[in-house]
Amino acid sequence: LAKTTQPISMDSYEGQEVNITCSHNNIATNDYITWYQQFPSQGPRFIIQGYKTKVTNEVASLFIPADRKSSTLSLPRVSLSDTAVYYCLVAALDSNYQLIWGAGTKLIIKP
């Protein structure tokens, strides 16, 4: 069963690129990797998902190496409003509905 591990907290400065890594050593063939963002007093919000290599959208990039045992969420040129908790999720797209959430990384952006 996949277990996800991510750093408890990170901080950075406005304008920097931030990379948050999640390790999932026992990821299965059918598992997808997803990242969510959560602000205080709100539910998590989907950011990006991928299976392998690199995925980019208007908000972030997701890098997944060939062995898929880790993934890195990359936030370009962060601003104060990116201060939030970021969760990785490893989920199987089959009837088993295995959902393995990381404990979250609290990202603090400083001016």
Binding site: Q42, G43, F46, Y87, L93, W101, G102, A103
Partner: protein
Amino acid sequence: DVKVTQSSRYLVKRTGEKVFLECVQDMDHENMFWYRQDPGLGLRLIYFSYDVKMKEKGDIPEGYSVSREKKERFSLILESASTNQTSMYLCASSSLAGVYEQYFGPGTRLTVT
């Protein structure tokens, strides 16, 4: 935009009370989920449902039950609330094939005294 609403933002109940938490989604999603969120523990799945009247246990179902009588509505029931069920409860929904892309409600902060 997908909208997931939860019946209360804050709830205070006494030990032993029966508690109902309601969740409604407006996107005709097949899947619905109930999580609890505690500091340092992230999100833990309590129950999920992939169809009306269908339910599956998640990682921590003890002390909870669920009901899904209509596709848009998923209820979490605490039969006899205890102080260790004080937590943030989050409801989510997704399409059948999009289990990794879940849409969350704002959460209900439940305090059991």
